[in-house]
Symmetry: C2
Subunit: 1011 residues, 2 copies
């Protein structure tokens, strides 16, 4: 039986939440026809508009600050549209929907109509089409999917099917992940084009004509994840000498034969020469020339005027040699032309990391650059999901819709390959923080609205409640929270965005020494007070008198729901004992299932005992000294925002021993370590948890010696990993890595450290036949295993020189007049490979990651004037959006308000097929019984990007080389679709994500359509 | 009787050689209406497109070499036209017809129609409109008139009356001449706007609200030369912060209130502030803002998008203070708005030279910069007039029309304020030379055609003649001429472009020692051989074996005609004696009417005896050392291409004594002086001439001491001139100059030398009550009288530093790997003020100038195979285009083919009213009997630019301040127009030029109209 997408619509008209009608000549129908027997040259006019880099998003849009960079996106779009309107033979692609949308909003109706006509006729086509052109190293798949969804939705809302991009267009990101390719495939793209890959890889591929390939982008999803991939020849620029932009200095085509500067013959011949050269490295009789670059086409006419001449004179050229057929085209038309030739393509299974542009330029520094921005972004995703869920569940109404959008857009911007990457200028990084912070603020209003709609037990209390703020504490990274510090009583809502119940250790900074915490049943909770470490307490910018953190365990947090806890500061009479011991010498923390031992001389971690399996694991901080080079290609690169290049191969030990304090208590054991005046760490093991939490704090990195430093945490174990380690790809599938090795070419590595660094979004691990050690960071970082048994992650870097890739600033972050301090967490999972609680370590790791990525979020309401009993009587203290929990290997990846009365729902299987014997099995769930506040009226499955009905998706088919025998073994991915009119049962295979637009019954009726 | 222009049309339809129909809404009819009670702000979008400067004309047009300068005129015009077409509320002015025409030629008919519509509706308006925006210092009025005529004709041909510029627009030239203003007035312009004037003058004028005035631009022509003149406030750029060009870095108007960069309030307030500031210095309630600059509007949309916002938000601004009415406008509309206010304006009588931009930046170096280019340009005018005359007289036919055009256009280009000025880059100077040289080449073909049409005595010889080249010798500046050196016999045509007969000493380099020269009657001419001075003979690049120059006097050269001379190299048997003496000690040359005495110690000139009047006149070479500064404004400018700034006030004497040879002969006495290894001079007095000729040769200027040098020739006399001297204005009226003085403000002069330099186009003189000394250069030079009795002229300059006004190169000209050598002539007139041959010295000078500016031109035909008698039988050896000579104070300034069967004719009175008691009187001539080859069918008078019938010319009338009592005393200028149906008698008042389009009877019929 052929696979069928889920399509359920009982007793109602079919869903109309996607524009699918396409009466126009766009897409492949609009493509120019290549000529057989000719070398067909696709001129693709394009502009690459960074959503922030040297200038902020708005500065780029309006074209201000042009001393920094000559770039004004408003003018680009104005200019291109006018050029296309003037001459229908022209084409253009636009990529970044963040900019397009900002422009579109400002246009008059007449212009909008004209643009629609251009899109409907294929003159203006969208490539990529996400909110921004996202980074592929540090991004998390959830945010990537979100930002594509938002960008593609704007295009679909505005232009219908003609607005759907067919080609992935990742021309600038600094390396390419397999997961991104997989997502492109699942989003229905027909191919991907990019520019940046290792220079050796590129040379190898060009020489063997394998720069175009079928990327098998998932070890789990089979054909559904296969993506035709094309490596661009000349970066993403025009052939040398053929840049006709106002930003360029190439010669125009001068066709006045009377002019002493007449150059048509010479220019035509140079063009043909380039085309012949390029075509030598590709197997079809089509080549693509990327006629554009960064912020080009501000004066589109210059391009078109000269390209028109190229087309005219080259096509008319009668000289011997290759016959050229030059025409305006698009990436999609290029893909279609290749596909029409029905060639056989080679296969690629690994990814394109790390990216090296020359022998000393490994772009592995940006995996860590600006660690605090990277964390803020990750928190943003966590918060946005909470926001979306609460907003969807509570249906707070039209007045709050735009609030979600600002956060959606902020997160879309943050995915940009100069945002989350940390490769932007300092002032731009600050503007990103502003944008994200504004997103938080407006999202908060939606959340507060949701709470205030959900929690009243009767309508009469609604007004009272409107006086009570319900807010999160956004400065917990410096252990600061006004509500918990100032109020005598307050209520804590612990919201769980996971699809199954969880528990969570709540930590809040407090100023007093004794607190009562009651759960919704009035049950007094066990609490513990832990002193806030000195380096945190005295951190610059911290505005708090709290010296302790109050800890309790919030248990049984319902899926997509919350439990509320009532906290009261106890006066002297009421004071109860907060058990804890502070010891100078303990050298062991944890509990019988998981404990850490410390060296009694150095004070550092020396071993882990997990489920009885003891492993030698040492942990320490080191730093690399950043190389200072002259930035000559292939010679002498500096370590910088993009590039990691240590000065000498050995990292310097930050401190031979630590000062420490051991704190033990009923909930958590902690070791407060001070490595130096700029490195400290809290190592903790919570009761009942089978992992350790290392909360490091690094900075200000000293630079008095005029040497930049890149700080790593290094775990050294006895694991014999033979150079092999694993890193996750954007938070999903694990990628096999081997030191000084690349699967597809013979690596020559002149940078033994930097050339072995890989992006670690959520996990890095090493294993041997017996044991495994995994480190889970709370943000994207660069990591490696430089020696057997080791894992290292770079946590912070401060550099004094630019690496000459454009940012033009040293990565020397400061705050409060000093070097920036970064604080973050690593979660350590270690143990025997075999069985722990009957769940594999791999599955445990994945679930732990899930709990950290979608961590419970805490909201506080001051309650000085209302006692526990009153509160409990008046307000709900427990709530779940789900009728019942989903299995632990299933996650509701997306639940958000969609258009009209519909919701967007994504459900994913979070495990790979080899992760766990049981949990990796396909899971079947019935959507009918999932949601508490509503029941489903109809549901229809879409592609991953939610811009096309899955049943409409017909991707181009490509033939692969026959030696690829493994290709069809993963067939289960497509076997489980079925269609049954009254049955909403769906099956998820490992790593599968399924996307639905659902319409609800019940209280959602009557909400008007929104756009 | 009101003055009437000449309009004669006997028995034929009225002439249709000008497009005058104007059914459209252009010109003043299209102007926006200022609002009473508001400050009306005229936004004038414009681009200033140098016809060559840092790049060549073609490089600017096509936008190549953009590393040198980002500038592409083709894109500017494309872009502006599209912007105007998109929105009819926009306006633009274009100025340089050289570029406009190049662009127009490339446009499709559809575009041409669109542009015509824009011009017809006043959206696109021309200002200036000459071929280029000419320099006003070194240019000769004849070339200026020509280049206006050519530019205005293209506009009239293409756009009719709507294409007629109303406003003079000299925004960039470095100082402004009175003659230019006079020409603008005579060409029918309603006003002139410019930017550059002495900073002290500007400040004075702004403070006294006299930056707008009536310029009374002629001491002879009265009202006809009056011109409303407006000094722009902010150079020719937009208000600071409001440049919205792709070349600028000012902030765009950001009107998205959600953007953190929203700046409307701040920008509006800054704009209003600027407008208020500017209006404080002007007397009307209109101000003009020049919204543009050098090569701006390549991306016109950026400007208009932001100006639209300015207009919208400023006009909507409700805050207190000045009420602004901002609108798109043009310079003409600004003039009209001022005129409508009927205010009274102050009067200006002198000129705007020299221009100083700060206390140490006198722009007086460019008066001399690139002396060889300046000479080449002057020769170009001489040649073009010969070419036009012969072409018109011979009517060589349509096939040659374009040849004239190339030379017309080359000369138009050369007038540009970075061409003749020498302020262009070296490679551009070379390209100008190429352009001019190409003009010569093509013009030559026309001339050759004319000769070959004129000279055959029967039609049968035409074919023979086609084998014989008739060419000029263009390398006489290095005494090189192939025909005279190689051939045993050759014919010399001596063409006289003057309107009266003249004689001319012919000098040709020869290799033998004995020649026979026969006039048309076979009469043997007196000849003389003079050795070519050593420095000339050995000059780098000279390709000649000639060691002597053969001299004879060509007499009775007919007006607009020629006499031919047959020259034969004599073999030994035939050798006749060429009388000459070569003496080492003579110390006196000349003849009884004019002689020079030399100092027997130094060898230098010490006195002149003219008509018995003996004057002490010493002549010597000096040089100033160029200042090396840091180019900080008001502090420390370097001497450079623009700026003359000697290092210390005293000039260095080049040589204390000279080596010399005296050569005396029947035709000329010469002294060959060698001052140093880089300065030499020939001083000569021809028999019968009442002036001396000093042929200087300077260079390579030594720079081994790393000091730039500026070489002057200085004449020191006993004349008591009390600081007063006179320089000509563009070759016409004399201007009164006084050392360290300006007529309209209290000068503070920190540069005692440079601040007293003035442009000398054709004459500089000093006089006292008894005597006068005048020096006439053969090209434009800077000159002054720094001490009483002195005249100095700068002949050559070589500098090692840039003066930071943009050219970005030191003025360090080289040729053949060495510093450039310049060779040129000064003509010295001296004597008693009163009576010489009953002609005043002033009139003599003016006529001598005329003979040098429109010197006879020599063409040579090899005649080895044809003896004198054969030649004389076969070919005409005498020819005149005039039936009879015009009086010596009258010159046919222009005679050229016009459209269809018409000719363009300009006749001028070359004297000022005070020059001579007799010759300065009005002259009456009858056009009917003037021309030999045709008779006149109809004639109609036009304005000076020939783009408007004089009868249609209705210039705006302005009121001047009543204390200007002298204003109406010159009334004769307009009293002599008359109209009589059968009478072609016209009267010319002193300095009057009258312009006519004439249609001929006879052989010209049948020639088709050309465009």
């Amino acid at each position: 039986m052929p696979p069928k997408p889920l399509y359920y619509s009982k007793g109602s008209a079919s869903l109309r939440y996607l524009h699918t009608v396409d009466e126009n000549v766009c897409g492949y129908k609009a493509c120019p026809k290549p000529k057989p027997g000719y070398l067909n040259v696709h001129l693709v006019p394009h502009t690459h508009d960074d959503v922030g880099w040297l200038k902020t998003v708005d500065q780029y849009y309006y074209g201000s600050r042009s001393m920094t960079q000559k770039a004004g996106v408003q003018y680009i779009l104005d200019s291109v549209i006018q050029a296309l309107l003037r001459d229908p033979s022209k084409r253009f692609i636009y990529v970044e929907t963040a900019f397009f949308w900002k422009w579109w909003r400002e246009q008059h109706d007449s212009v909008r109509h004209q643009v629609k006509r251009l899109v409907s006729s294929g003159k203006l086509e969208f490539a990529g089409g996400a909110w921004s052109m996202n980074d592929e190293a540090g991004t998390h798949y959830q945010s990537t999917i979100d930002q594509f969804t938002w960008g593609l939705r704007k295009l679909n809302d505005t232009f219908g099917e003609c607005g759907r991009p067919r080609a992935g267009w990742q021309i600038d990101p600094f390396g390419h992940s397999r997961e991104m390719a997989s997502m492109f495939a699942q989003m229905g793209y027909d191919g991907l084009l990019f520019a940046r890959l290792d220079y050796q890889d590129k040379e190898t591929r060009l020489m063997s004509k394998t720069a175009e390939m079928i990327w098998q982008a998932s070890a789990n999803l089979g054909k559904a994840s296969e993506l035709f991939t094309s490596v661009l020849f000349n970066h993403y620029g025009p052939p040398p000498g053929f840049c006709f932009d106002v930003l360029c200095a190439d010669e125009p085509i001068i066709d006045d034969k009377d002019s002493p500067d007449y150059n048509v013959d010479e220019r035509v011949s140079a063009f043909i020469k380039h085309a012949e050269l390029q075509s030598r490295y590709y197997s079809s009789n089509n080549i693509i020339l990327t006629m554009g670059g960064d912020f080009t086409y501000q004066d589109a006419h210059m391009w078109y005027k000269n390209m028109d001449k190229i087309i005219r004179y080259v096509n008319a050229n009668k000289s011997n040699g290759t016959k050229l057929n030059v025409f305006y085209s698009t990436p999609a038309c290029y893909l279609k032309a290749l596909n029409d030739q029905d060639l056989t393509w080679p296969v690629k299974n690994d990814d394109f990391f790390p990216y090296a542009s020359d022998s000393h330029s490994y772009w592995t520094g940006y995996f860590t650059s600006r660690p605090t921005i990277k964390r803020f972004e990750r928190l943003g995703n966590n918060f946005l999901q909470v926001c979306k869920q609460l907003h969807a569940l509570a249906s707070v109404g039209p007045e709050d819709w735009k609030d979600l959008n600002r956060m959606r857009e902020a997160m879309g911007v943050m995915q940009h390959h100069d945002a989350i990457t940390g490769t932007e200028k300092e002032h731009v990084a600050k503007d990103y923080a502003r944008i994200l912070s504004d997103g938080f603020s407006e999202c908060l209003e939606a959340i507060e609205g949701a709470f205030k709609k959900i929690i009243p037990k009767s309508s009469v209390v609604k007004e009272e409640l409107s006086e009570i703020p319900i807010k999160p504490c956004l400065k917990l990274n410096v252990s600061e929270c006004q509500v918990s510090e100032v109020n005598n009583s307050f209520v804590i809502f612990v919201y769980n965005p996971l699809s199954y119940p969880t528990s969570h250790y709540v930590r809040l900074p407090v100023t007093s020494t004794s607190y009562s915490v009651k759960d919704p049943n009035g049950k007094e909770q066990i609490t513990q007070l832990v002193p806030i470490p000195e380096p945190v307490r005295t951190a610059p910018g911290r505005m708090s008198d709290a010296t302790n953190e109050l800890i309790f365990r919030a248990t049984d947090l319902p899926p997509l729901g919350f439990r509320a806890y009532y906290v009261t500061k106890l006066n002297k009479e009421q004071q109860k004992e907060h058990k804890r011991e502070v010891l100078d010498e303990a050298y062991e923390i944890g509990h019988k299932k998981f404990s850490l031992k410390f060296d009694d001389v150095t004070g550092k971690i020396k071993s882990v005992v997990s489920q009885g399996h003891k492993m030698k694991v040492k942990q320490d901080f080191y730093y690399y000294k950043g190389f200072l080079g002259n930035n000559v290609v292939f010679e002498n690169r500096s370590s910088g925002a993009y590039i990691f290049r240590p000065n000498g191969s050995e990292a310097v030990l930050a401190s031979s021993s630590v000062k420490q304090k051991f704190i033990k208590g009923p909930l958590v054991d902690e070791v407060h370590q001070v490595f130096s005046d700029w490195i400290s760490q809290v190592v903790r093991v919570y009761k009942g948890e089978n992992h350790a939490e290392l909360e490091w704090m690094v900075g200000p990195i000293p630079i008095e010696d005029n040497i930049g430093k890149e700080v790593i945490t290094k775990f050294s174990s006895s694991i014999q990993n033979w150079g092999v380690f694993y890193t996750d790809s954007n938070g999903r599938e694990l990628q096999w890595r081997k030191r000084n090795y690349r699967p597809t070419w013979n690596l020559s590595n002149a940078e033994p450290i930097a050339g072995n660094y890989y992006p670690v979004t959520t996990r890095i691990l090493i294993r041997d036949k017996d044991a495994e050690l995994a480190v889970i960071p709370d943000r994207a970082q660069g990591g490696s295993s430089i020696k057997d048994g080791e894992i290292e992650l770079m946590v912070h870097r401060r550099l004094l020189h630019d690496d000459s890739f454009g940012v033009g600033e040293a990565l020397n972050e400061t705050a409060y007049g000093k070097g920036l301090i970064a604080r973050g967490q690593h979660y350590i999972v270690a143990g025997a490979i075999k069985t722990f609680k009957n769940i594999s370590l791999a599955a445990q790791e994945r679930m732990l990651i899930q709990q950290k990525v979608l961590a419970p979020w805490i909201f506080l309401a001051p309650a000085d004037d209302i006692c526990f009993e009153q509160w409990r009587e008046t307000y709900k203290m427990e709530y779940s959006g789900l009728k019942k929990s989903l299995p632990p290997n299933v996650q509701i990846l997306t639940l958000e308000q969609w258009k009209g009365t519909a919701l967007l729902l994504r459900i994913e299987h979070i495990l790979e097929k080899t992760d766990d014997p049981d949990l990796s099995k396909p899971v079947t769930i019935n959507l009918k019984d999932v949601f508490a506040p509503f029941s489903i009226k109809s549901v229809r499955e879409t592609t991953l990007g939610a811009n096309q009905w899955l049943s409409d998706s017909k991707r181009l088919k490509w033939r692969v080389e026959s030696n690829d025998i493994h290709r069809d073994t993963y067939s289960h991915h497509s076997s489980s679709y079925y269609y049954d009119d009254d049955d909403l049962t769906i099956t998820l295979n490992p790593m599968q994500i399924r996307t639905f637009i659902i319409e609800m019954k019940g209280k959602f009726y009557g909400i008007k359509s929104r756009n």
